[in-house]
């Protein structure tokens, strides 16, 4: 079994997508279960990174080896990832600012302390 695995190619598009799905699931679990708002935001970053991995994997495995296309088609996925990283940075800044404001109000970053809208 190990020798069969050694012959196989591991670094494929499918395996990269599986890694990204695993990272996304871990991040989703973290977002759903953590009580600390800070760690919720951190899990969110893991999910965003998994999505970036998917885009780069598709771009790299399926588009880069085809010089017949013009450059926008071939690097489009990587440009997407640049935009996502920029938006993630903006999201982190605003999210952490909201967190600081909430902490000033309640002296806590526990999600259970922010249930005023619950009926």
């Amino acid at each position: 079994m190990v020798s069969a695995m050694l012959l196989h190619q591991v670094f494929t598009l499918e395996n990269t997508l599986l890694l990204a799905a695993l990272l996304f699931s871990i991040g989703a679990y973290g977002v759903l279960t953590r009580r600390n708002l800070l760690t919720v935001l951190m899990s969110l970053e893991i999910m965003l990174n998994a999505v970036n991995l998917v885009l780069v994997a598709f771009n790299s495995f399926q588009w880069s080896a085809r010089p017949a296309f013009e450059i926008q088609a071939r690097t489009g996925g990587q440009v997407f990832v640049m935009m996502i990283i920029a938006v993630a940075a903006a999201e982190a800044a605003v999210g952490l600012a909201i967190l600081v404001t909430l902490f000033r109000k309640k002296q806590s970053v526990d999600t259970r302390d922010f249930q005023r809208l619950q009926g």
């Binding site: 996304f24 440009v79 935009m83 600081v100």
Partner: protein, 197 residues
């Protein structure tokens, strides 16, 4: 198994372990630093995918800027109540775990069922006469496509820049929109977090 395979396996294992640590450790500071450590293997995979510029951006923006933000906020608010006191809610944890596992299984099923490597050959801009012929050949014998060879000189700053700022079909509008978004986010963050303006 060549060098890239070994690199991919090592980085994937490292990234998964560090991500699990990030979502499971109690201390927020430890979580922040495992998250920083998680960004590096992902950047290495970007490198292996020959997205060199994105690997650098990943390290600079995520491991640099975003994590500095996180650690600064941790220092500012100094959460004295650790999560050790949190009451266990095993039902909700189980539900979340089931949700995450189901998502992963569904994605695995989708990835392994639909042959992703095969069908991009037909998407190539074939001349009009050959389109039908190649479609028929694919239906007859969907040969397992070899993994695409990624050439080393790809995804550097030059290629990304050419794609971004091409005069005719570049992404200049999107670029400007994102820059306005970042400006608004920076101003908004200051307005939100500052005590008195």
């Amino acid at each position: 198994m060549d060098f890239l395979d070994v690199l991919f396996l090592g980085c994937a294992a490292l990234a998964v372990v560090l991500a699990v640590l990030t979502v499971s450790v109690r201390n927020a500071v430890t979580a922040a630093f495992t998250l920083v450590a998680m960004f590096f293997p992902v950047a290495a995979i970007f490198l292996a995918l020959s997205a060199t510029f994105l690997a650098v951006i990943q390290v600079l923006v995520y491991a640099g800027a975003i994590m500095v933000l996180f650690t600064f906020v941790i220092m500012m608010i100094n959460p004295r109540r650790e999560e050790a006191v949190e009451p266990k809610e095993p039902d909700f944890r189980l539900a979340a775990a089931v949700f995450a596992a189901l998502f992963f299984l569904a994605t695995t099923h989708a990835v392994t069922t639909y042959a992703l490597s095969d069908d991009y050959e037909t998407a190539a801009p074939a001349p009009a006469g050959e389109a039908g012929a190649s479609g028929g050949a694919k239906a007859a014998a969907p040969a397992p496509a070899p993994a695409a060879k990624v050439d080393g000189k790809w995804g550097g700053p030059k290629e990304i820049g050419e794609a971004l700022f091409n005069r005719d079909q570049g992404f200049t509008f999107q670029f400007e929109a994102v820059s306005v978004l970042i400006l608004v986010a920076a101003v908004g963050a200051v307005v939100l977090a500052k005590r008195r303006l």
